[in-house]
Symmetry: C7
Subunit: 96 residues, 7 copies
């Protein structure tokens, strides 16, 4: 992954809903507003506070995460689709 | 529960309104805007302040809580429905 | 009262407008936007500041208070109706 | 006056526009958006800052004040009409 | 002038656009959104910061000032029309 | 220029788009939302921070600047048209 | 480039979507909301904090960046089209 997200942004690769993940998340396609699941492939340096301090992010590359249906912006890198979003868009991290 | 909520988010399992809880909360279905009741099953590390301090949450796993009708986002983990919301969505905690 | 309000929230039991309170508040039903009167039955620990300090509330259980017509959320505990609201919704406290 | 306003709120008794006050304020009824005049009858402890400091108010009981047409909420105490508003709604204080 | 403006408010007497002021400001009536000119007749103690410090104002009684077309609230004191506005509504001060 | 802009405001004289400036900025009239170019003729003391510190501005009299199409308010001083705007409305400064 | 962007603004030259960049970013024209790619040609001094500290930017001249479809304002300098935007509009930086 050669795109470095800025500040508190992260890049996520969607995980197809059909496959049953290790954590057992099965998200039927029907639910309109259902959260999405994906894997973190890149993280920014961190959130910059009002007076310039950098707060490292609480997610890391490889984490499986749950995020809101409309979170982030779609981008395509080397033919692969990704989402780029803010850390605050992440609802939770799936523990192995 | 293998989903770790981020920051000041918590995961709540709804308690069916019909059953009369220990605390005696009986919430008839009719009231349109009525608050909901549920049990906390996971809590985040805490709210991150502007300059990076982490403030632990004031609810813990096992607490019975009351929250607004439209609070949180519905998720399904291993076939079970949950709500993931911010601590600030919680109106109150039922003392045993 | 076995519901502990969160942070700067308080629980209030409405006082019927007809009865003339000790403080002599008589609020005719006609005034559309008229404030309401009630008694405080539970208070939260206090407002949490941006950096985590807890500021105790300026109202206590037993206080008779005046609050805006649309303040708070209706809840029912053990068959009794209450309102749960923020301290900032309170206009004033009736001195005995 | 047995109602203690909360924080930075004050209670004001309207002064009838027709009477020409000591300060010579004559506010014809016709002006649609005209500010109102009244006398302060109770003041709160003060504005509470973000970190809990209480800033005493800059108006006191007995002050004659000018305030915006739509400022505050109407209340009735012992048959008398009053307005309860924030200090910031006050435009100015009439010096004797 | 016996009205003391609150905090960062000031009282301004409009200067008629026709008269050509010392500073040579000639503002034809035609321009719809044209700024207005006036003289400061009273100033408040100053702006109160979040933690209670009072910042004195940067305009004083007698200053000729330029302000936005819709700035402030009209008031009448002893038969004379004035505007009461915030210091931040002032665009600039005419140097003698 | 005898008008002292308040705080972080500046006064700018528009440069006609047709003339090709030293910096070679040629902005055809057709572009609807095109930024404007002008020369700074007066600057305020600076931006006042929340606790009263004055931050000097980063533009000075004589600078050629680029600003948004709808930035500022039109004023006329001694027959000459100017714009009065906030420093934050300035996109960039043309180096000689 | 003789235009110095103010504070946290940067100037970007768009890279045509058709050409396949070193980083392999191929952004088909069809995607309506697709992010854009470009090269940084000038950066401001940095973001000014509430109390006047200047925080240097995290992008530099020559960086290839990804930004939102509607980010920035179009300008033309010496016949060449550029975009001027805030650093916060940048989604990520392409590592060589």
């Amino acid at each position: 992954m050669n795109l470095r997200p800025m500040q508190d942004r992260i890049i996520v690769k969607r995980l197809e809903e059909e496959t049953k993940t290790a954590g057992g998340i099965l998200i039927p396609d029907t639910a309109k507003e259902k959260p999405q699941q994906g894997e973190v492939v890149a993280v920014g340096k961190g959130k910059v506070t009002e007076d310039g301090k950098v707060l490292p992010l609480d997610v890391k590359v490889g984490d499986k995460v749950l995020f809101g249906k409309y979170a982030g912006t779609e981008i395509k890198l080397e033919g692969q689709d990704y989402l780029i979003m803010r850390e605050d868009d992440i609802l939770g991290v799936l523990e192995k």
